[in-house]
Subunit: 416 residues, 2 copies
Amino acid sequence: MKEYMRQLGEQAKQAGRAISKADSAQKNEALMEIAEQLELHSEFLNAENQKDLQVAKDNGLDAASLDRLELTSARVAAMIEGLKQVAGLPDPVGEISDLSYRPSGIQVGQMRVPLGVIGIIYESRPNVTIDAAALCLKSGNACILRGGSESFYSNQAIAACITKGLEIAGLPKEVVQVIDTTDRAAVGELITMNDYVDVIVPRGGKSLIERISKEATIAVIKHLDGICHVYIDGKADVDKAVAIAVNAKTHRYGVCNAMETLLIAESIAPTVLPLLAEKYQEKAVELRGCLKTCSLIPDCIKASEEDWQTEYLAPILSIKVVADIDAAMAHINNYSSAHTESIITEDYTLARRFLREVDSSSVMVNASTRFADGFEYGLGAEIGISTDKLHARGPVGLHGLTTLKYIVLGDGQIRQ
Amino acid sequence: MKEYMRQLGEQAKQAGRAISKADSAQKNEALMEIAEQLELHSEFLNAENQKDLQVAKDNGLDAASLDRLELTSARVAAMIEGLKQVAGLPDPVGEISDLSYRPSGIQVGQMRVPLGVIGIIYESRPNVTIDAAALCLKSGNACILRGGSESFYSNQAIAACITKGLEIAGLPKEVVQVIDTTDRAAVGELITMNDYVDVIVPRGGKSLIERISKEATIAVIKHLDGICHVYIDGKADVDKAVAIAVNAKTHRYGVCNAMETLLIAESIAPTVLPLLAEKYQEKAVELRGCLKTCSLIPDCIKASEEDWQTEYLAPILSIKVVADIDAAMAHINNYSSAHTESIITEDYTLARRFLREVDSSSVMVNASTRFADGFEYGLGAEIGISTDKLHARGPVGLHGLTTLKYIVLGDGQIRQ
């Protein structure tokens, strides 16, 4: 295993050098050729996917997992569309910024360059294979992909299409390598091959990400939790507050940018909470509140300390009545996972304070936390969301897979 | 020790929140007050520094180390000047970039924010205490500083001035904490307190940095080596080539941005190498070359494989004659520490290729590697140089001690 993984690493490093120099046209050609291969081999993809589904059924996987695993023709079409969209994005590699003359006569600027080799570890959805490969390729990186064992046959089939597409475009096939073993030791190797891999991106459940963060010796771009807060301030517009609080919780439940805790100023709670309770009841959202919340909403369950620390990913919401913005920010400081927080207010000064003082990867005013997303932010696509502070923070798109080096242009200058 | 360090960590985290919100005027006032304190207490600084010098002499430290340790009045003046310069730099905190409307109606941008708590570990020069404190303070971060044991009394004296300055400016004194024990276990704690410290910056010799990188569980901003290359291309202007090759090697020997290996195209080597050899001889630089180099330069020592891997930090230079830019970049690829490389050429296409294809923190055309420096690049000051790819690359100034969070401004938008 060690030998196999080191070989993938060495090949990725070589391929990374080649793809870092490839021009945009060639990278876009590869993306379009991969799309073409998926189209041509849709029957093959379907047949291989059926193998995975059969194994999963035999192993008694639940309906939700089976659904995630299935490569319907709509999902294949979405992968093809995704490839075309990434081909249409501007190429970040080689962008030069802030080039300016210094008193010595040299010109100094920064050039955007690929990171090198990206290792991506993900769970059952096979479409991640295409999304990840497309973003790495476009940003000039080689990648080593490790999908879930449940989608082994599907991922290998997709990998074959990627390889073919790269070859037609004249790029080394090792630019995208999909690990072709389900041996878990491969992951342990991947996340400790510092000589070959520049960054690890884990995508999946919290336990996967925790394990990888703990064991990796390579930098990891990740988020563990999305305990997102909405704070409805005393000066909030009631209509906006209700619309956003409903949307942030109920638009989708199982996503990291859903609101998990609602904070509300005590001055406005008697007006807003009953309105909200009605809306949540319509959608069968279970409410767990502080004492004051429970006094304003019938059928509210008393929240425990654990509730404030929980990412439900379900139709459950914790609610706390707070004195003011300071109490709200203190709560956020204590319990937030630094993913996304939003204030609802018409107060200019409080909005400015919230933006400056809340230390999360996305901080919003009068908008639903559900907007914390690479597509909504205009990144074109995202490989994940980072709640870490270094390098990339928030949704990570093509730029997050690159770095900046300094460039200096001179006419023979020497240091005095 | 663990208890003491955790207490520093907790205090730093609290102070970090306060300093992240402080406005520029207050931070600049603190910097100016610290300068004032250094001025007022120059006799005290001198007396404490004498204690360190006496211990060092008793321990038989060499003259170079004693020199580094000494706080001459010129050096105190330089620290004061440094504080004033940092006060004069633009405040990076709160800068908003790329704020633009999205189709949904939300406005998305990025705000520059402090990292939080920075741990800095450094060796004998006591002036680093001031430089590091000033940069962290201005960038809105709290810091925990650990100086070398040889400069213990000097650092504590400087720390007293910093504390006083912070207090006068109305900022928590825990914004800058200097560890007041020489117990080495303190470093082990500092670099593994993930709950309190966001990034570690080690400054000093290679062995210190290697040890810290290996043992830290927190992200480290660092460079290990500066094996910098100059490549003199066949189309180089001979005068520029000679001036830069001499400057890059001989301007200062003990610095990380000095050239350690000269690569030269074989077409131009017979013209340039004898001219260079003469200049180097004047400065008593020992030359170690490949066979071709030795055939062109008398008194050249045959270079070994080890020479290409060595950062001499001394009047020694390794020289290799190469076929062309591809051979030069292949050598750089193999041996460079990814710090700084420069090409000397008048050829437009080769200059563009070198800039794009060489993967180092600074890549130059027709300029001396000695320019790879925060002051020369216009950063105002630098806390160090990073040869890592993630987060900060090249000289690290105020911006390198900050990160970007996303901000979203809306009027009640919800996700459709």
